[in-house]
């Protein structure tokens, strides 16, 4: 009865992620930080900007000097100097005075607003007419308006997009602490599986999963290491699994969709040091025969053999584990689901979560989700699809026209 197949739900599987330890951290240069997960809290080291700045080309003034100015009744101001870029101006702006300033220039003492050059006219070298009144603060970014020194601006567990890289530059960080990328070993099993560069004979198929899973792992922030095809043999699989576990933080065993191979996989997982089978069967379709074990404190997955099943299981179950190992804090995940209108009825079975591959197409009434039909062994269905539609366990099916959330991939 060792293979007693007690199917658990997705939430039960996902809740196990927290029982694994996140990666240690390492320091990287800012130029290498894009896409990495921040492992420290980042505070502004200075007020940003550190001075009140002009946001337009024009003249720094006291707003009050311009109150009531209009086309018909311009205000006349004395131009007393100009602000050099990148320097603290040594001039003071008094009532009735104006100082030339360019976008980004520092406001001189006494000034509180900028008049756009378009709203002025030069009378002579030292006098301008102003046609519009400027409220204090107009066309100015105040000192500290972006952030104040000491403000927490980025957080541990956040993945760094280009915007965040810019923010790190703004607060002077050329080096920062990030989580190490989790290393993920990929074993492909199955006597029917041959390398990609081999012409498959009758009964054989090429190893699609090693290449596809490596790319999915990289996209999710991991470092994949493919170990090639392991024969459907207990000793061979055990040896390969031990080797992969030693060099990696997580291991995926792909292929092996038959009962015989699943038996091998379970036997091998139980034979590993400090091993425990956590999950053997998940109420998800495709992907039911998924196995998860803990071995030496690391997650080891037995993925379903069908190529699209393996991809769906990766997206729904494995990726959250990989993100957890990589230090991601779920509160910072930006996994936006796109609402789309379903183009046909979709049946489903209660008590099981169904993931349906869909294409997103522009319809007359917004985005439509068009299910990609085809068995889960068909790799082409994944290349056609834009995302996954989830039909939850309490739903018997979805009607055409229903608005459904689609997770892009």
């Amino acid at each position: 009865m060792r293979n007693f197949f007690k199917v658990v739900d997705i939430e039960t599987v996902l809740a196990l992620a927290g029982s694994f330890e996140a990666q240690p951290t390492e320091a990287v240069d800012l130029s290498a930080a894009h896409g990495r997960v921040l492992a420290e809290e980042i505070c502004a080291d200075v007020d940003i900007p550190g001075f009140s700045r002009a946001t337009m080309d024009g003249f720094a003034v006291q707003g009050a000097s311009t109150f009531g100015a209009s086309e018909g009744n311009p205000a006349f101001l004395a131009v007393t100097g100009s602000v050099a870029m990148g320097e603290r101006p040594d001039i003071t702006v008094g009532p009735g005075e104006a100082v030339r300033i360019a976008t980004g220039g520092m406001l001189p003492v006494g000034s509180d607003a900028v008049i756009m050059v378009e709203h002025t006219e030069s009378i002579d070298a030292e006098t301008i007419e102003v046609y519009k009144s400027a409220a204090p603060g107009q066309h100015v970014i105040a000192r500290g308006e972006d952030m104040h020194s000491g403000d927490g601006v980025l957080h541990r567990g956040q993945r760094l997009r280009p915007q965040e890289i810019g923010l790190l530059a703004a607060v002077g960080r050329t080096r920062l602490e990030v989580f190490r990328r989790p290393r993920v070993g990929i074993l492909s099993t199955g006597d029917e599986v041959v390398p990609v560069d081999v012409m498959p004979q009758p009964g054989q198929i090429r190893d699609v999963n090693s290449a596809a899973l490596a790319a999915f792992i990289r996209a999710a922030g991991g470092l994949p290491q493919a170990y090639g095809i392991v024969p459907d043999d207990y000793e061979a699989l055990l040896a390969a699994c031990r080797q992969a576990l030693q060099a990696n933080d997580m291991v995926l065993i792909s292929g092996g969709s038959s009962v015989g191979t699943r038996d091998f996989t379970i036997d091998v997982l139980q034979a590993l040091d400090a091993a425990e089978i956590l999950v053997h069967g998940v109420s998800i379709r495709p992907g039911k025969p998924t196995i998860l074990a803990r071995a030496g404190g690391k997650p080891v997955w037995g993925l379903p053999g069908h190529v699209t099943s393996a991809m769906v299981v990766f997206a729904v179950l494995v990726r959250p584990f990989l993100e957890h190992l990589g230090g991601m804090d779920p509160q910072f995940l930006r996994r936006i689901q796109v609402p789309a209108r379903l183009t046909r009825n979709l049946p489903s079975v209660q008590g099981r979560v169904d993931y349906v591959r869909v294409r997103l197409v522009a319809g007359s009434d917004g985005i439509e989700a068009d299910p990609v039909l085809g068995k889960s062994g068909l790799i082409r269905t994944m290349a056609i699809a834009d995302g996954l539609l989830c039909i939850d366990a309490n739903t018997e099916g979805l009607d055409r026209g229903a608005v459904v959330p689609v997770e892009l991939f």
Copy 2:
């Protein structure tokens, strides 16, 4: 009058992308192809699968042998052998016969369906009872059902996601032709700009754009090369620009938001070999003072100095050029916009396209787009935002509650 500022619309700018040449191509290994843009048409080299395969563990049969079988009236079949994985079975299935087969196994001659093992019971070593009838084709993927030899399955100009990497593996491609990544030089200008590792003095700000633009370029498939901060000086900028143009396929000049610097930039761009100013001002906000030139057949951009303006102009204008240079065919772009409900009224000016930074939040009635308020000089607004909402030139503004498309970044 050299700086006559004739503002053009976004479409006019984007239409110019086609006047630049895409990159040459290069061969890469499959393991390095993820994220690259395919430069050839990919056809299946064989039928996939190359044989009819079982999609369940069970028995290969002639469906007709089971017609009418039920719990109360099982069919009895003679088990005449089993299919070894990865081999062509040398057995034939006749009426009333069954052959053991595992998921992925090749159907023996004569069989046309698979009965799941769960729907059978062993009577003795050579006989099973079958409790369900199997229609021909049941639990079988037919030869060529995924693709037929010669089918065009991937196309020139497509960016390769993990799924496509799997598809390439399936058709035996370990090496393939992709477009070279466009190299993009980044020059930062402005006397007020100091390197990231310098503590800014009053009037100075750190160089945010070099780091942020490099990450945006990488995310869009380019190879960034930052040339550091160039003084606000005609000769220095001209020399730096020539150097960057020689080593890159596109150049971005960032910073230089003041009229003075813009004048320098225009002068420098006109002084380059075989140079032509194509755009000087775009009806977009933020981002109006954008400059685009052609020099030596390559695009050179003068980006607005405000950091968020530069990012928006990158996302809306520069990225499509980068994608074009990188060989992307627009028909394969999967730039999905997320429909979201606006949380407040947004004013806008007709005749100009406004890009508003929004956060996406879960509302009671679906996803809501919450505008991030703040001037375009504020880098923090970009880190808070999930995407950009576009208000087109013919709209005077948007009402709270309107459903609007949001482009993620």
